[in-house]
Subunit: 401 residues, 2 copies
Amino acid sequence: MSQLDLGSLFSDRANSMKPSPIRELMSYIKQPGMISFAGGNPDPRIFPITEFAQSAKILERDGKTALQYGATDGYEPLKDFVANWMAPRMGRLTKPEELIITSGSQQGMDLLCAALINPGECVVVEAPTYPGAIHTMRNRGAEFITIPCDADGMKIDMLPEALNDARSAGRVVKFIYSIVNFQNPSGSTLSSERRGKLLKVAEDYGLIVFEDDPYGHLRYDGIHEPTMFSMDDSGRVVYACSFSKILAPGARVAWVTGHPDIVRKMVMVKQGADMCTSLVAQAMVAQYCTDGCMDSFLPKIVSHYRAKRDVMASAFARYLPSDAEYSVPAGGFFFWIRVPGIDTRELFKKGIERGVAFVNGSAFYANGGGEDYLRACFTFATQDELDEGARRLSLAIADMN
Amino acid sequence: MSQLDLGSLFSDRANSMKPSPIRELMSYIKQPGMISFAGGNPDPRIFPITEFAQSAKILERDGKTALQYGATDGYEPLKDFVANWMAPRMGRLTKPEELIITSGSQQGMDLLCAALINPGECVVVEAPTYPGAIHTMRNRGAEFITIPCDADGMKIDMLPEALNDARSAGRVVKFIYSIVNFQNPSGSTLSSERRGKLLKVAEDYGLIVFEDDPYGHLRYDGIHEPTMFSMDDSGRVVYACSFSKILAPGARVAWVTGHPDIVRKMVMVKQGADMCTSLVAQAMVAQYCTDGCMDSFLPKIVSHYRAKRDVMASAFARYLPSDAEYSVPAGGFFFWIRVPGIDTRELFKKGIERGVAFVNGSAFYANGGGEDYLRACFTFATQDELDEGARRLSLAIADMN
């Protein structure tokens, strides 16, 4: 029998594809005794398990719909809830044709890339940014233009020159991707002034803005910035949010709000991608939300994570060497730490030996960089583990010298 | 403010994309009094709603896992169940690295295309075939080589010449797609002799075989043919099956079994596509199955649908004009009917006026054809509706003369 030559059968993209870096770390995290600051996972100890399990009552009541094929754009009661619940942030009640329920934010990103990107075309991303975004966009053939961040998010002043350079080099740019609140990994929030500037640049250059906001509801200090979606009236902002961080990632239910023509294209891609998001999951999330559990539970998550953020901040203040650079994030999941002169890929190995895992900084750079940064997630570990993990991290850093 | 020029921002693929034809028909089907033979939907009246809703107990027991992010290849207890349950059909107990849980079979198809197809490369499909497959494959840039079907499925004898012609024309072919049992739409089953021949051709030409089997468990007469997966020892067969037709499409849980290297590539694509299939849905399906509900309920579905198949067969025998050509399918969801000389796109309009919907034949041809065919699904309508719908269909046909 002739040998199967898979190399010649795989697509070029598949042959060059690498596993998403964070997924690769997961094997280390499962080691006994390991304290994980690595994955951006919510705290399973505060999942509203009973309330969510009870939402299965909707399957008894609406099972003929929830167990059947559903509309590709989403389960209507869930769309209604999302549109109403989000209206204050969106600046208005959005219409059904502006909203698509997706199988996690990851899918929203994937569908948008399929709708906009021809292979070789560019996306502007923050440096650093979420590695899952890089992975998804690259899988759809995107290349990257990276713009550095500071405490106020993407340095918008650098955008025009970067876009001019790209155009001069014959590159086609389609959209600007920004994680606007408590950015993954930097923790920074795009200031309201910069949001306005970003919209202006997008308008000047005829680009879409992809406003990714999985952490927006998890603010521990200060007041919410307005969404770019609410600041724009041209239809160029595509806004994504998710139940993953405020309810349960295992549901895989998220949503994207945008121009009806863009949403329509995303729906057509989704028809081929998975037909519709699990109706079972959508219906249960809808029941949970319309029972009022979302509104009653969200403040508990916020205070739970605020306390954890404070524990990690104290522990880092106590243990980290004095030259470590970081800010205390006002929300979200992450501390982003610079340990000057230390290659955090090497530090990762020392950390594993000491029993603490994190994600090395270079994973967050689409075009390289970040070698002496690391990301530490404070939501997953217990308060005791946050303290002990910070201590172990400091020992690992000492091991590097 | 500058106008948003979406046409120039959409990808070439998105600009040429059309909605999946069957999804488009759905608006007609919702008209009051309409009898639908159109969508390939299971009968919601026999969904095991109570048993499935009770499976939510697993969320109480394993909520910390089921509400969290999960492994991209699937929820382990579900993978275990599938591997064991399918072993008789697979010919052996497959290994975990040979199995990926997908968000419906549609996603399995999408991931496989991403792993194998460079834009412009070809897939061999049956003529007719499932329009959702055409839509998904086209979205990934595939082109099509079509092989006619008869009562024994794809006419494998025509394959070598078609492949030679394609090669002579400089086309690259990656895989052969066959819906092996009770094919959608033709109802035909690939004979065991042809399965062997198909494998031989695939071997001779170095191709992957994508064995799609959503209907395989729904056999109403006769005995099961062996899967091509079980007949092959080269690793070239990728086998897909789903809970959609035997439990609930709304769960969006299916699986693909294949060579570990292919599965690994599909996992990498899936990381970017939706990270993992809804753990909530996977866990509930796993609970339902391990409680024994799958094995106790499946025979009920089979006899329920067999009775419906028989009602549609009797009604067609009574009402359809004598020149209508069709076979009674031995399983699955569909009758495939030729009404010689009648354009079924026109007939569709008459059918809607008469209060019966079906899918016109040309929707099932990747490269054109099938103008005087129609597909009638017998699983969704009630027995009374099956009879009345057949009568209305005969009136619509008479309206054409």
